[in-house]
């Protein structure tokens, strides 16, 4: 109980170490989410719209990669970025940059697959209508992404939630260096093992509240989206 009280004090007292950790977590995961969106949304929509060679391979691949274990991603990115690795010269290992790369790889398949699923049901109505007004491929892609926007935003939130909650990848490529690459999840893991439960618990509560906010947003988006669905 006392621990919980201390944790609450930490949270409300704007503890600078805690704020920095939370800030870095959000920075890394939001950036990763943004980058993954740039790749995953257009590609996911394209997979839903067009038949092209290797499409089914890409679909199966993206669905399988949704369940990618973060430690495996961490390991692969580590091997790429380590000094002896092919991208070792960039000097990114143990920086927030490396963590962003790892999380981007981790969540791109999620955003891609969920975007595809959001766009697919629209095709039945849209194909004929878009053809009848002579919409080109660019307009078709943007129209379907925009009109599936509530589903696409849900995909983004799912990706963001996954990135924020993941430990293994950022731990391996970031190194959990205090003040530099320490994020909420890795700090919780470390501080708990050290017996510093106040900080761990405070961060846990922050994570939990973000998770609740994300889920509430998903719920709200789904409700907004249903207003535009034709039920006839």
């Amino acid at each position: 109980m006392e621990t919980l009280q201390h944790a609450a004090e930490l949270m409300t007292g704007r503890d600078s170490a805690l704020m920095q950790i939370v800030g870095l977590s959000l920075y890394v995961s939001l950036t990763a989410c943004f980058l993954a969106a740039l790749i995953g949304i257009p590609l996911g929509a394209a997979l839903a719209i067009w038949n092209f060679p290797l499409r089914s391979v890409l679909v199966v691949l993206s669905s399988s990669l949704m369940a990618l274990p973060p430690v495996v991603v961490g390991l692969c990115v580590y091997l790429l970025l380590s000094r002896a690795g092919p991208l070792g010269d960039l000097g990114l290992l143990f920086t927030p940059g490396a963590m962003i790369i790892a999380q981007t790889i981790l969540i791109t398949p999620i955003i891609l697959a969920l975007t595809r699923e959001a766009v697919l049901p629209l095709r039945r109505d849209y194909d004929a209508l878009l053809l009848s007004v002579d919409a080109g491929p660019g307009l078709k892609l943007t129209t379907l992404i925009w009109d599936a926007r509530y589903g696409v935003m849900t995909a983004l939130l799912a990706g963001f939630g996954r990135a924020l909650a993941e430990v293994g990848a950022v731990l391996i490529v970031g190194g959990n260096i205090s003040g530099l690459t320490r994020v909420m999840t890795t700090t919780i893991a470390l501080e708990t093992s050290k017996g510093n439960l106040e900080l761990a618990l405070a961060l846990g509560l922050v994570l939990l509240s973000i998770a609740i906010a994300v889920n509430a947003s998903v719920h709200l988006l789904a409700r907004l989206g249903r207003r535009y669905e034709v039920t006839r």
Partner: protein, 235 residues
């Protein structure tokens, strides 16, 4: 307006290897209201979708004023039987055909506002289109097809599932559109509606164009047995 002639030149459409339309050869004048008649499965919808270039014929050519159907879609409006709706507002739906062409935003807004007003949908402009009633949806579909001021409008069973008052309103709109110089081609299984609207008739049976005649001639004296039976309402 230089409204285009429609030419079907030995057009055949296959589905799963079976001939479902044609061979159809005909020429359609560029003015007035043409009504496509025939029983279910006679090929009315397929004729309309092929005419608009939505279905590519396996043999033959569909030509509008010298241009193949599939490269002149922008000059026509098309109203689907099931009214597909974009997951947008009413105004967003009506505006959509304009996004496939380049023009200043102000001009687009003016055209959309005019189309909404003509369809009496101005007060619902910002509602989700999915919330409209059946009659309102038909008005939306017509407004969306007419927003580009097309030379031709094609409608597939536009009055299906509409009550008499809404049907009358739709027919009045189609007459106005035709009077204003747009060629109107619609299909219907409602013989009374065809009598009220048609300037000329295309009668289909089993995928073939059986008769092409002025409405007066067709209803007074149908030549083919299929048309005679259909008009008598024989089952």
């Amino acid at each position: 307006m230089n409204a285009p002639d429609l030419i079907f030149d030995s057009v055949e459409v296959l589905a799963d290897g079976e001939q479902v339309l044609g061979p159809v050869s005909m020429r359609l004048a560029s003015v007035g209201i043409t009504v496509i008649m025939g029983a279910n499965g006679a090929g009315k919808s397929l004729f309309l979708t092929t005419a608009h270039g939505l279905v590519a014929p396996h043999r033959g050519r569909v030509i509008w004023n010298g241009i193949p159907a599939d490269s002149s879609r922008k000059s026509r409006g098309f109203v689907f039987q099931n009214t597909p709706v974009l997951r947008r507002s009413v105004a967003g739906n009506v505006a959509f055909p304009l996004s496939a062409r380049k023009m200043p935003a102000i001009e687009k807004a003016t055209l959309v506002a005019r189309a909404l007003a003509e369809a009496r949908l101005t007060s619902q402009a910002h509602q989700p289109a999915a919330a409209l009633s059946g009659g309102e949806l038909k008005r939306l579909a017509l407004a969306r097809a007419m927003v580009t001021d097309p030379a031709v409008i094609l409608l597939d069973e536009p009055a299906a599932n509409l009550d008499p008052a809404t049907t009358k309103e739709l027919e009045d709109s189609l007459r106005r559109i035709s009077d204003a110089g747009t060629k109107v081609i619609l299909s219907t299984h409602d013989i009374a509606q065809a009598r009220r609207l048609a300037g000329d008739i295309l009668f289909f049976d089993a995928g073939l164009l059986i008769e092409q005649a002025s409405a007066a001639a067709f209803f007074a004296n149908p030549i083919s047995q299929a048309a005679q039976k259909y008009l008598k309402g024989e089952l």
